[in-house]
Amino acid sequence: MIINHPLLGPRDASEFTYLGDAALIDRPDPDTATAARDFYEYQYLRDNPAGTLRELWYHEAGDRAWLVVTRNTLTHEITHVELARDVARKAGRST
C-alpha cells in the first residue's frame, strides 16, 4: 500500500506502524460522572466496518507523524490522509 503523507508525499506502507481506529483521538474527559463508562467504551468498543474507516498510522521509519488515514477496508482504497495533530485540534483537544 502507499500512503500519501500530507507533508512527505506518497510513502510505502512498510514505513508505517498501524494502530487502529482514529476514534482513539477522542479520549474522554476523566473528570465527569460517567468517566468510568466513557473510558471503558473508548478503550474496548470499536466499530469494525466493512467499508470506510478512519485509522491511525504512525510514520515510524519517517518523520514520526501520526496520521489519520481514511481507508476502505474492503478495497484498501485510501481517500484521505491528515496529520493526526490537525484532526485532534479540530476535535477541540487543544485546551
Partner: protein, 980 residues
Amino acid sequence: MSQINRIDGGQIDRTQTLKFNFNAKTYTGHPGDTLASALLANGVRLMGRSFKYHRPRGPLTAGSEEPNALVELRGGARAEPNTRATTIELYNGLWARSQNHLGPLGLDVMAVNDLFSDFLSAGFYYKTFMWPAAFWEKLYEPVIRRAAGLGALSGKADPDTYDKGYLHCDLLVIGAGPSGLMAARTAARAGAQVILTDEDFRMGGRLNSETLEIGEQTGADWAADTVAELAAQPNVRLMPRTTSIGAFDHGIYGAVERVSDHLHRPEDGKPRQILWRIYTRQTILCAGATERPIAFRNNDRPGIMLGSAVRSYVNRFGAAPARQIAVFTNSDDGHKTAQDLHAKGIRVAGVIDIRKDAPRSDAYDVFAGSKVTDSKGRLGLRRIEVERADGTRHWIDCGALAVSGGWNPNVHLTCHQRGRPQWNESLAAFVPGGVLPPGLSVAGAANGVMSTAGALRSGAAAACTALSLKAMPDLPEAEDAPLSITPFWHVAGKGRAWLDQQNDVTVKDVKLSHQEGYRSVEHLKRYTTLGMATDQGKTSNVGGLAILAELAGKSIPDVGTTIFRPPYTPTAIGVFAGRSRGKAFKPTRKTPSHIWAEEQGAVFVEAGNWLRAQWFPRAGETHWRQSVDREVQATRGSVGVCDVTTLGKIDVQGSDAAAFLNKVYCNGFAKLPVGRTRYGLMLREDGIAMDDGTAARLAEDHFVVTTTTANAVSVYRHMEFVRQCLFPDMDVQLISTTESWAQFAVAGPNARKVLQKIVDPSCDISNDAFPFMACAEITLCGGLRGRLFRISFSGELAYEIAVPTRYGDALIRRIMEVGAPYDITPYGTEALGVMRIEKGHAAGNELNGTTTALNLGLGRMVSQTKDSIGTVLSRREGLNAPDALRQVGLRPLDPKDKVPAGAHLMAATGPVDAAHDQGYVTSACYSPTLGHHIALAFLKNGAERLGETLRLVSPLTGVETHVEVVSPHFFDPQGDRLRA
C-alpha cells in the same frame, strides 16, 4: 544415447551441445531447450511418479502450469525439489532426478498404492484418521508426514543469495505474447516508461510455438523483431525469466526474476533470484490462456499431453514426443496440431474429434463423432482405444496423444483483489470479471480474445486506453478465425479418468464428493484436494467444476468458481527472505563497551537487537554461577560497573514538559525539582502497567526519560501518540537519544570514590551536594561534557554516568583504571538481575502485560489527584479485587531447594490444579548475598500473607517445593545502602 526424437526446426541453437544428467544417465540437448523438451528429444517420456498412487507420469504441458513432470534440480545444498521440468532452461552440467518413488523410477515399490486406490479415494484422510485419538501421534501423523509432498528439502543452508529490488513505471505489461508485445510496443513508441515481464526465457508466448504468420513474417520472427525493437528503447525494461506473482494494493506488483536458475552456478556477485516490487500507474495483463485436457480412462500415461504442448515441443523445441502421435479434440485446435505434425513428417495416427462435423483431411484419418475411451502402456503410452460414432471400438498404436479440450484464460491476477471470473458461453471458459485491481486491464487470450489478430488489436487498444493515446497504431495482418468449440469434459465409462494429475483426483472422486454432500466448489476442492497441488489446478479446476455442474444438474456459472491468490506459480521462500537471513535477519546493536567487553572475555546475550555482556568469566571459573556470584559479591562488597546504554533514553523538552510527563506517568512529575530524578511508572490506558523508568529533570523545561531496553521503541511511539493525538498543543518536543549517550552504572560502597576520580573537581558529588536521586550535567576527565544520575537498580550507593557515545569505550577503560585500587569488577546482565531480585525491583518478567500497579505493590503511586493515561481504568473493580495478585518474595524452607521461574503456588496441602492456583513465580535466582535461592512471585492477596507456607509446583519439570512467603525486599529493605 543420441537425441532419437530430435526433429528439424525450432528455436534451439544446434551449434552448441549441452550435456545433462537425469536419474544418473547422461543426455545431450541444446541451448533453447527445457529439461522436458531435451528429455523428450532423447526419447524419455517418464519423468516422475504421481503423489498418491505413484502412477508413472510424463509432462502434460510445456509450461509453468505443469502438474506432472516435477523433478529435484541440482544436488547438494543447491537442491530444489518440485521444480517443473517444463520450465527448467537447459544448461551444461544440469543435474536432475525424479521424485516420489522407492527404487528406480521405472519400478516404484510405492506403486502398490495404485492397486488399493479404492481405499485412497476422496476424503480418505478424513475418514481414516479419525480414531482412536492415541493413533494420531504414533501412527497417523508420521505416515502422513512421510507420504506428504513430493520432493524433499536438502536440509542444508542455501549457498546462494536472493535480492529484493524496487522498480517504477508508467505501464507494466505482464506477458510477452502477441497482445503483450503489441501493448508494450504501442506504449514504448508513445514514450511511456514500460516494463514488460514474461515468465519464459524467450519472449513471444504462443507465437514461438505456433506456425502462424503476422504480416509477412512467421509469428516467432515477428516476436523476435518486436523484442529487439523494445530492447533498443531506453524507456523499456524487458524482464524475461520474470514471473509476475501477484497484484497488490495501490498499483504494486510482485515479480520474481530468475537471474541465475539457467546457469550452472550464479555468476560472482549475482543473486539466484530477485523479488521485484514494481510500482506502476497502469498494468495490462497479457498472461495468455492455458489449454485444458479431456478426462478419459487412463488418461495420465506418459505421452498423453495437451495439444498445445505437443505443438510447442515440435515447433519451438524441435523435439517430437513420439514418432507416431494421435490427436483427441473438441475443437479445431486439434486439427492445427495434426497439420503441424504432418508438416514435420511425424505420423498422425488419427484425429479423434468428438464433433460429428469435424473437418476432413486427406493426409491422415479423422474419426468424427468419436472419443478416446482407454489407453495402454505401463511406463509410457503405446496405444489408445477409440470409440467411433457407431459405437464400435478399436485400438490405435501411438506413442503420444495430443489432447485439446479448450482454453482457460489466465485470469489469476485479476482475482488478487476479489475479482471473480465470469463464465463465457461461447468460449466455454471463465474470463476476467467483477472488480479488477485498480489500474489493471486485460488483453489478448487472458481476456478471452483467442485469435492472433484479436490479441494484437486488444493489446494495442489496452495500451491506448491506459496511456490516453488518441490514435490506434497500424496493426499487422494475422489470422482472425473465431474459436469454434463444443464443450466436452470427460468420457463417461468405467475406470479412473484423471482430472488433477498432481494430486491424483479422478472424475470418480468428484462424483464421490457430490454423493457425500460436498457440493459447493469450496467443499469439493477441500474434500478431493482438486486444485490444491503446487500447480493450483491450472489444467484441472474447470474440468472438475464442469463435472460437478453436470452431477448437480446446474450450469457451470451456477456452480461458481474458486478464485486465485498470489503467488501465480510456486515461489521459493528464499526469495521472500532475500538478504534477511542469518546475521542479516535483523541488525545487531553493540554497546559502546562491546569491544572492551570482548577483550575481557565476556559472554554475550541478546536483549532485543542488542548484544549485552551477560557475565565476565575469570580464569578458573567453570560454571556461570561462579562468575555471577563473584560479580554480585564484588559489587556489594566494593564497587562494580555495568554498561546500561541499552536502556531507552528520550529527551523531553518544552515549557509543558512536566505537564506532559504527568500525563504519561501515573505518578506526579510537576513538582519534581530541577536536579532531581524520580522513578516513574507508565500505564496503558486500560490500567495495566506498560513500562517503568526514571525521569531526570535537568532544567525547568528539560527532562531525560529512560525506558526499559525492550520497550524503548514502543514507549517512544506511545509518547508521540499522546503528544500528537491527545494533547496536540502542549509545548513539548521528544527525541530518542538512546544511541547518543553511552551510559554506565557504577555501583557499590566505593562507587563515589571511583567517580570522584572521573568527574571534574568542579562538580561536587559528595552525599550532601549530590544525594540519592540527584542528577546533573557535569564535566569529567578534564572538560568532557556528561551527565550524572544518582540512581540505583542494585540497591547500592550507585550512579549512572553518561557521555557522548563516541567516548563510551574510553570511559569504561578509564573507570576500570581508576577503580583498580578498589578491585572494581565489571558485571553483566545476570548479576544485574540477581541484585534487582534481591531488592525486589520489578522488571520485564513482572511488567508482563497483565499486571497493574496494585499487583506490583505500587498501587499508591497511581496519583488520584491528576489525570494520566490509565488512571481511570486502573480503578476498575475487577483489577482491585481483595484477592488480586500481589508481588511477594519467596524463600525455600529447605535452603538447598531451587525455586524455578514459571512454577505455580498452591496451598501447603490439598489438590494441585488450575482451580486451586494461588499465583506464580516471575523471577528467580540464587542469592549469593543471602546464601540461598530466592524468587519474586505474584500471589493472591500476597501482601497479607507474609510468613505463610505454600507449595511451589512445576508439573512440567517435576518440582514440588515448600516455600515461605516473605517481603520482596530481600536485601537492605530500608534502603540505607543506596543513600550512603
